[in-house]
């Protein structure tokens, strides 16, 4: 994160069509030097296609791609200053770990000693020095991933591309490797673009996240921006869980704006103005952990509902309550289980839910 302002990778109005199907649709994106950027989206939204255009395995139907200021749209993969870690790792089965790491270095005009030194440094970086002479089929999944990482970092690429880096690992190893991978990537200082459909993984690893949907980038921002200020219903629902109220604008003010909602007995207030006319339909999102639950009616005039506990999921650290409103709408609330012997609310209890005007987010798309 040396100089955050200077871009390493610029994508300009890039599109990719496979026949009729538009896999990537007019995407523009700037990724800065030293940044870890995650492309996040559901299956088939075009993440892999976008990544493969960066590596050169797919040619864009339209648009251009600049790496460090140089247009590489027409440069073949083997001449791009980019290296990719494949989802399946794609380690060469006939070569040893050391030979795999050396493969890319041998393409450059380096002396034997230089290649050896770089291979040793890379294996040390990923803690695989002891396995240098093994073949890939003699390694565990996690070890293979380390070798794949070492191989893709060996040539000191300007951009490192990771396609679903954790997909082949089991859950426990995954969370450990997420942090370790970030450590390694940051210690090398390489700009990194990763693709994932796991929002937790994107939030854990990336400095910035781009949410993709049907070939388009919906929103780009830091993990907390994306979570706290989603700009669309799709982003809000894709990242974490959310309650969405359909409302009608009553009053737009500079300090606060009021809406009416068919599911609520009172008005719904949000902070600041909203970008809509009075009488317009708007959706408002409230995250489950922003809602407080109580047996008694809150003192505030707006932003509360009353309902019955419909379902409880006890998850150890926290619990998720599903509250059924008189209108039939289900509202999710999470509570932290701080006290071991707390008298918890239970099924069919009548409860009041309330939140502050600052917690509500207006969704425009």
């Amino acid at each position: 994160m040396s100089d955050a302002a200077s871009p390493m990778l610029e994508i300009r109005h890039i599109s990719k069509r496979f026949g009729e199907l538009s896999a990537v649709n007019n995407v523009s994106l700037t990724i800065n030097k030293g940044e870890i950027f995650a492309l996040l989206g559901g299956s088939g939204c075009g993440k892999t296609t976008l990544l493969r255009m960066m590596s050169g395995f797919e040619t864009p139907s339209e648009g251009s791609l600049l790496i460090d200021g140089e247009d590489v749209s027409k440069v073949p993969p083997y001449q791009r200053p980019v290296n990719m870690m494949f989802q399946s790792y794609a380690l060469f089965p006939h070569l040893t770990v050391a030979q795999n790491v050396a493969f890319g270095l041998k393409q450059d005009k380096l002396s034997k000693a230089q290649v050896q030194a770089q291979v040793d440094a890379m294996l040390k970086l990923v803690h695989m020095t002891d396995y240098a002479k093994r073949k890939p089929n003699q390694l565990s999944g996690g070890q293979r991933q380390r070798v794949a990482l070492a191989r893709s970092l060996a040539k000191q690429p300007k951009v490192l591309l990771l396609d679903e880096p954790m997909a082949a690992l089991d859950k426990k190893l995954r969370s450990q490797m997420q942090l370790e991978l970030v450590d390694i990537v940051e210690s090398v200082g390489v700009t990194c673009v990763m693709v994932t459909h796991d929002q937790e993984e994107a939030m854990t690893m990336a400095n910035r996240v781009g949410v993709m949907h049907e070939g388009e980038i919906m929103q780009v921002g830091s993990p907390s921006e994306i979570y706290e200020f989603p700009n669309s219903r799709h982003t809000a629902e894709f990242i974490g869980s959310v309650n969405i109220f359909s409302t009608k604008v009553l009053h737009v003010g500079a300090e606060a704006s009021q809406m009416s909602c068919a599911d609520m007995a009172c008005r719904l207030t949000v902070e600041g103005g909203v970008n809509a006319l009075e009488g317009a339909q708007l959706e408002v999102a409230i995250r489950p952990e922003k809602i407080t639950m109580a047996r008694t009616r809150p003192e505030q005039e707006d932003n509360w509902v009353q309902g019955k506990i419909h379902d409880i999921a006890y998850l150890g650290g926290h619990s998720v309550y599903h509250i059924k409103l008189p209108s039939g709408m289900i509202v999710m609330v999470t509570t932290t289980n701080i006290n071991r012997h707390a008298q918890r609310l239970t099924w069919e209890d009548d409860v009041y839910l309330y939140w502050s005007a600052a917690s509500a987010v207006v969704l425009y798309q």
Binding site: G56, Y78, D108
Partner: protein, 292 residues
């Protein structure tokens, strides 16, 4: 009951091998230790019973004879040499074809595989005979070259070693293509992409990744071509010349022209022993591959 069923299923190929390979082979070995005689059958008995004496008459003269007349030595050498060169040629022709088929999309792939195998459905003899018409002095190739004006005298091709190579390459090509194809079609495309990603241009990727990973297919294909080529009779007989010396032809002459079954059998036994060497090497390699 099912165990018995499974056993009898495994037994079928063994029974087949015993009946149609081991028994005939033992008979051939037996004949190779007899002496020729003008009778039916044209060889002496090994075990005779006369005057209350059991005589076992093992004649190793046939083998000794093979070592004294260097015709046999040169016939073996020449067979191996021709089979070796022909195998290399078949590999050079077959590998690109196998590669192209493996890279084609799946619909074309099946059609191409069909085309590779289709000729094998007509008689081997007829297909080789057709080459006589193609290669002879007033055959297709010479006539075409003369009419185009490239040559004014026909180039003799039939009855040369060249014609034998053409015949072997043509006849055994499917045996080279199929194992290599089976190997290449399994090759993970992401390995090729990974090589490109690491800066390797396509030709280098071929040498460093594709070729080593198809080694097993290459070896299998070469064995399937080399082994039958060594003992090939029809192709050198029909396409080769008088100077094309191959052990299959020698074998034929001993059996049918000289009617010397014992010497012919000895030739056959030695040929088999010589072929055992590459076969065992191949099997050793295969079992190592399975372990790895």
């Amino acid at each position: 009951m099912s165990k018995l069923g499974a056993r009898s299923l495994i037994a079928v190929p063994y029974i087949w091998l015993v009946l149609f390979f081991l028994v005939p082979f033992i008979i051939v070995v037996k004949i190779s230790f007899t002496e020729m005689q003008y009778a039916i059958p044209p060889y002496t008995d090994i075990v005779t019973w006369a005057d209350e004496a059991l005589t076992i008459n093992l004649n190793i003269g046939n083998y000794y004879y093979l070592f004294t007349d260097d015709l046999y030595f040169w016939a073996y050498i020449s067979s191996v040499r021709i089979a070796f060169i022909a195998t290399i040629c078949t590999l050079l022709v077959g590998y690109p074809i196998a590669y192209a088929i493996a890279r084609a999309d799946s619909a074309t792939r099946n059609a191409l595989l069909m085309l590779v195998m289709l000729p094998s459905w007509t008689s081997f003899l007829i297909r080789i005979y057709a080459w006589v018409g193609i290669l002879k002095n007033n055959g297709l190739i010479n006539n075409a070259l003369i009419s185009v004006g490239l040559i004014d005298q026909p180039v003799p091709m039939l009855n040369t070693e060249f014609a034998v190579y053409v015949g072997i390459v043509y006849a055994y090509l499917p045996f080279m293509i199929l194992p290599i194809y089976a190997n290449l079609v399994k090759l993970d495309n992401s390995l090729l992409e990974a090589a490109a990603d690491l800066g390797s241009p396509p030709w280098k990727t071929f040498l460093k990744v594709t070729l080593p990973l198809s080694k097993a297919g290459i070896i299998a294909g070469c064995m399937l071509v080399f082994i039958p080529s060594v003992g090939e009779f029809v192709i050198p007989e029909m396409l080769g010349g008088a100077e094309t010396l191959m052990i299959g032809k020698v074998l034929w002459q001993e059996f049918f022209n000289n009617r010397d079954w014992p010497v012919a059998s000895a030739v056959a036994v030695i040929m088999l022993l010589l072929l055992l060497l590459p076969i065992t090497l191949f099997q050793r390699y295969q079992s190592r591959q399975l372990e790895a």
